[in-house]
């Protein structure tokens, strides 16, 4: 099966902005801190922009409400925390879910590294196994398997693109490709 990197579409030109005081106030620049908080949900005040992409990476990784349901079905060990974006000026409220993606050792020995950082990622089908949504250790890109990608695209997401990742095929599985 093929794998893809999930990214925010560069065509998203006018995304909402998180007001900086707010970010500081909840002290949630890091997802870890957010997870530790006891409340069920967090509120963030935002301003400007009319685009709410279904995948954002700043200040931490968040996913749109309709995609959260799909992702949690495919990869049960994803951790979520609800974040509500409130725009007072426009009177708009949008639900997001902060997401922690499991890290696995999925890179093959063919992966090209530059001073330890991954430059060109080549996945190892055997090491990845049955993981459908994951990150490779030392790399913060989210990788999604083809069936999940299709499932997400069926829900017509906003502002997400998928770029194919190279894969070293599984050994021992006969492939007629």
């Amino acid at each position: 099966m093929d794998y893809f990197v999930m990214k925010q579409d560069p065509d998203v030109k006018t995304p909402f902005e998180i007001s900086s005081e707010m970010t500081r106030a909840i002290g949630a620049r890091r997802f870890k801190e957010l997870r530790r908080s006891k409340e069920d949900q967090q509120v963030m005040f935002v301003k400007g922009g009319n685009e709410y992409p279904d995948f954002i990476t700043y200040p931490f990784m968040m996913i749109g409400d309709k995609l959260k349901k799909v992702l949690s079905l495919y990869q049960p060990n994803l951790a979520f925390k609800m974040v509500v974006m409130i725009d007072h000026q426009q009177g708009r409220q949008t639900v997001y879910h902060a997401m922690a993606v499991p890290e696995i050792d999925g890179a093959s020995e063919l992966t090209i590294r530059h001073f330890g950082k991954i430059k060109t990622l080549i996945l190892d089908g055997d090491k990845v196994g049955n993981n459908r949504i994951f990150r490779v250790i030392g790399d913060n890109r989210v990788i999604v398997r083809l069936d999940v990608v299709e499932s997400m695209l069926r829900r017509i997401p906003y502002g997400i693109i998928f770029e194919p990742v190279e894969l070293k095929e599984k050994v021992g599985v006969k492939n007629g490709k």
Binding site: D11, T14, L146, E150, L153, G176
Partner: protein, 337 residues
Amino acid sequence: MTTETANQAFKQEVEKVSQKYLTKLQDEMIKQHDELITQFNQCFKQYCRQIVTLQQSGAKNPLGYIQFSLMRSKIITGEHAFRIDAYDQDGYADQALCVGAYDVTPIFSHLDQFGKELQERRRKYMQKVTVCQVKQLVLEESDTYKLAVTALIRSALPKAIETADYQKVKREDLFVITVGEFRDQVELVYKEDRTEKDVEKMKHLLGTTKEEGHQYEVFDGLDLSGGQFAQTSWLYCSGKNSTFAQATLSTATLMFCQFEGATFKSVDFSHSDLIGIDFTNATLEAVDFTGARMLQVNFSGATLKQIDFTTVDQIKAIDLTDATLIDVRRPDEMGVE
């Protein structure tokens, strides 16, 4: 102009553009029908060869499913190919992949143009209608184009399965070909069913009325005499060489069913709809067609006895080539000998 009014104005434009390209697609599909079918047959043949090679090396079990799937991940990159997968009777659990591609550019190029035109029209609304919104519309629209491909594959398959390459493919007794989403909802376009069937169970099954009707049921060579099938609807069913004596099919809807060499004796078809039914070499005796609507019914080579077609409600495009007519009354529309 506020965002709301902009969106509303754009929505109206989208409908117009969508209609424009769908009409174009329809015209083209009718015009290029033969070429499209030939192209599919070639692709299918090649894929069958790929399976046969795998099966001969022992890497693939007999097939239970062949699935054509629309790949949205391809659409967003502008490529237009359906993925073909073959699975054994375990379905998606089958680890031995056999991936093929069916190029659908002639159909999906219209979707491309739809997207391009919308991106052009979007500009005058500035950032009120965004690029990504149009991308979403293209994804939504792809559903309709998928249906076009489904229809095409359905009409191409009867010829495609006659090839020697397909016959060489080892298949289970129950084998289906589907078109639809990748590892998700699919639509049946072909079914082979050689499993042994119980006559009583089949009678009961076909007799129940379901909203979506009975699709692709196979009851070849079964004796379904005395069956009560009133008000049922049968789609793409196959009842070759089966027997229906004293059966009731009144107010039923039969579409594109195969009754080659079947026998109908004193069957009640009153007030039923018969569309695209194949009665080739069948025998029909004392069948009641009162108030029925018949369209594209093929009686070629059939034997018709004691049938009164003058009481039929609507009758159109009936094929009576080489049919033997004994004591049959026909209205003028059916042509007089």
